[in-house]
Amino acid sequence: MIKNISNLGDAAVYCDFGKEVSEKINLKVISYFNHLKKLVKENKIEGITNLTPSYNKLIISFDLSITNFKKIKKILETLKVANNIQQDSKKIKIPMCCDEEFALDLISLSKKIKISPNEIIDLYLGKEYFCYMTGFIAGMPFLGNIDEKIRFDRLKTPRIKVPKGSIGITEQFCNIYTFESPGGWNIIGNTPKKVFNKFNLKDPSLIKPGYKVSFYKISKEEYLNWNE
């Protein structure tokens, strides 16, 4: 159930599913997202222009010339949504190269958390991650949860340019920079794999909310010769 429905301005509905960030809450968000997406596609709800799921929120944007907050809220209150994520879940494997030129923050992070660079990478590669959401930049997956031993804050001063393909960690989360972009996460490697393909108009994102993602190590040679 949605714990709290409020308005975000005059043209969006803000659905709060609970305070904490957990797979359980996120699965509810994704279930509502999938359900509503289907209704919008089948023209069963008028005026919705965007659905934005995140860890524990779902924002529904609408065209104020067609509908309004009260109408959408009413629909949400009567909506029956089952957890429907399983049918849409896939496992994705991402290659990553952790050579120094790619792992921009590995050594400094190692000093800060007093764990060797190799051990950080081993702990990182040893887990399968859940995709909570995608966004900020096109196709960027927000994954979690990383091992407690390697959790650390964002960089104090964010980088103006994080290279495309960078794999970053902060707090309990990890992500992949699908484009060169500003960003403050601790970069521990880089992937040659195309995680977002803007020329694949039908299905540009490799990783979607609810997917499981794991990483495996490749050499610099394999990185440079990567061919999809």
Partner: protein
């Protein structure tokens, strides 16, 4: 018959194709984009008999210098824009906004600058010969999404037109008064209570100045610092156009058309839809005040805004 196109002799500062925007893709991180000033974008298309969502050229501050190659074109410029039409035999005709003109082969259109405003629009009858990407003509130059490979226009480029020449030119115009906003109306944001009593008071009573750090993604403001008493970060969540975020430094940022799809700063307020256009047109150095309205008022103000747009459309002659 050769193709008709504009040759770009000067691209201007930030000239790109825009339409109403791109929907249904926030969830993969693709933002709405679209014209920053939706009303005068719509009017530009109406003046040249287009579908109201046809792609037009949006320019900011300094516009492009374009030379028409072959054929002829019916065009209109909307905004508060200083422009000249360079006719044959070195005749310079001073242009008027909100009016359609006929431009002939080898004549030039010199869009000099946007006065007391940021954005202007150039619509041409029949539209530009470009393909929609994800159901929209809008270009997001930061994310490199949209036609023209997601790039703004550059010098020497050719922009082809769908129609090669004008058959029956009929001059149209709208009486339009450009105005500059000093008050922007907002609804309290979902994190309004993250801010101190003094901050809440300052937000709605003190002046905020628009800084140079303003573009299609967002507008950074400066004024009395907004003190956060709960947490300067929130768990990342969706954003919408008009959200006013406040990062740790206490200065508000307004999200515009090319904003990131999600963000992690507290939302103190959201600009009402009826005021998006006028907020987008604020030039660096402008001073504004935020006013609080409730949801019902915001909805009525939007109805009034839509009615006004409709009135302009009906009065086109």
């Amino acid at each position: 018959m050769s193709d008709t196109y504009f040759e770009i002799l000067r691209p201007g500062i930030n000239s790109s194709i825009q339409d109403k925007g791109r929907n249904h893709l926030y969830h993969i991180g693709i933002t709405i984009s679209g014209a920053m000033d939706q009303r005068i974008f719509t009017l530009s298309n109406a003046l040249v008999n287009n579908d109201l969502n046809e792609g037009v050229i949006e320019f900011a501050h300094q516009g492009p210098l374009l030379k028409l190659k072959n054929g002829s074109v019916n065009f209109a410029i909307t905004g508060n824009v200083d422009f000249n039409i360079l006719r044959k035999n070195s005749i310079v005709e001073k242009g008027k906004c909100f009016q359609s003109y006929l431009l002939e082969k080898d004549e030039q259109l010199d869009i000099i600058y946007t006065k007391d405003s940021v954005f202007g629009y150039l619509a041409i009858e029949g539209g530009f010969k470009i393909e929609k990407v994800w159901n929209s003509f809008s270009v997001n130059t930061k994310a490199k999404i949209g036609p023209n490979n997601g790039e703004k226009f550059s010098i020497g480029e050719k922009i082809y037109l769908k129609r090669t020449r004008v058959k029956n030119f009929e001059k149209k115009n709208i009486e339009y008064n450009n105005s500059v906003a000093t008050t922007i109306r907002t609804i309290k944001g979902t994190n309004f209570d993250y801010f101190s009593k003094e901050a809440k008071n300052n937000f709605f009573n003190e002046e905020y100045r628009v800084t140079n750090l303003s573009d299609r993604m967002g507008m950074r403001l400066e004024g009395p610092k907004l003190e956060n008493i709960v947490n300067t970060n929130i768990k990342s969540e969706g954003l919408v156009k008009g959200v006013v975020q406040v990062p740790a430094d206490g200065n508000p940022i307004i999200m515009f058309s090319d904003h990131g799809s999600i963000g992690g700063y507290p939302k103190i307020a959201v600009i009402i839809t009826a005021d998006h256009d006028k907020a987008a047109q604020l030039i660096p150095g402008s001073k504004i005040k935020f006013k609080e309205v409730n949801l019902d008022e915001a909805e009525s103000l939007f109805k009034a805004y839509s009615k006004e747009t409709k009135n302009h459309l009906e009065k086109i002659k």
